[in-house]
Subunit: 143 residues, 2 copies
DNA sequence: ATGCGAATTAGACACAGTCCAGGCCGCCCC
DNA sequence: GGGGCGGCCTGGACTGTGTCTAATTCGCAT
């Protein structure tokens, strides 16, 4: 994957390549996402960005994340009813979600094959497919 | 499926079979879910229940839906960041979600086969698997 | 410097969902 | 039948995520 080793300079290029005006804040937000191989919520991004560079507003974080999603720079992952996670990895892959800890990890999609899905209704187009495997630690969970 | 034709009397039995005390409100809520082959949000359930029988509180609707989920009577479907949908069909099946209309429809899971998923880490147990195919109308959507 | 559109900001707002303290209801036992 | 008890329901306050808006600031080109 090409999303490790993103200096802030490189990130500006990446943003431009996606037709996004690379502002200060947007670069910081992109950096927060790309510099760690984790799935962050908007609030986490806000916290990370503000601990380094003094101030970025909540509105900007939300606006920017939505912008990135629209421009297909990142992907939303909807697994937790409370918050949306953002995933800098846009290649085909799936997710494993620990319902106890809330931890979300990637599953490589390269060798996953799915058969037997019915045809889509006419005039309908696939936007994407999510697969989420919900797990818990075998012992700790009481019925 | 055995979730059509649920009179309120039958529903009381169903609830008891799941170790749920069949109160008035719970039966009405179960009825709202089982009597239509649709996926409802908590707010929709609240509206349906209250248009028939005068008053059921919001807290009760939420408590009851969560209780039903815990008792495996219904299932949560998390596809829309804004609200949770509840699905009375607990057999293995998947979902198609229209990102434009918000409409959620079932995909029978009987003949779906998935291969190539990696093994789970040791000591971890599958809680369930969700597959969501996000679609949109092919023509109407502008880039 | 000046002007202009785009981006950012603070704060108010909207909304789903939860919590809490009080009251009600059904049920059991005497 | 009456008294007590535990579970259920209720309104309302509260929380947290995300959005909106009006005003300010930024960056850039002239």
């Amino acid at each position: 994957m090409d999303y490790l080793y993103h200096s802030r300079d490189n990130l500006a290029e990446v943003l431009r390549a996606h037709a996004i005006n690379p502002t200060h804040q947007r670069i910081e937000i992109a950096h927060a996402l790309y510099s760690r191989a984790e799935h962050l919520s908007a609030d986490q991004v806000l916290a990370i960005v503000n601990q380094r560079h003094p101030e970025t507003s909540r509105a900007t974080v939300y606006n920017t994340l939505n912008l990135f999603v629209r421009k297909k720079l990142i992907r939303e992952v909807i697994v937790d009813p409370n918050r949306v996670f953002y995933d800098p990895n846009t290649s085909a892959h799936y997710h494993m979600y620990d319902v106890e800890t809330g931890r979300l990890t990637d599953i490589d999609g390269a060798e996953v094959r799915i058969e037997g899905l019915p045809d889509l209704p006419a005039g309908v187009v696939t936007e994407g497919m999510d697969i989420i495997i919900r797990v818990r630690r075998g012992d700790g969970g009481n019925k």
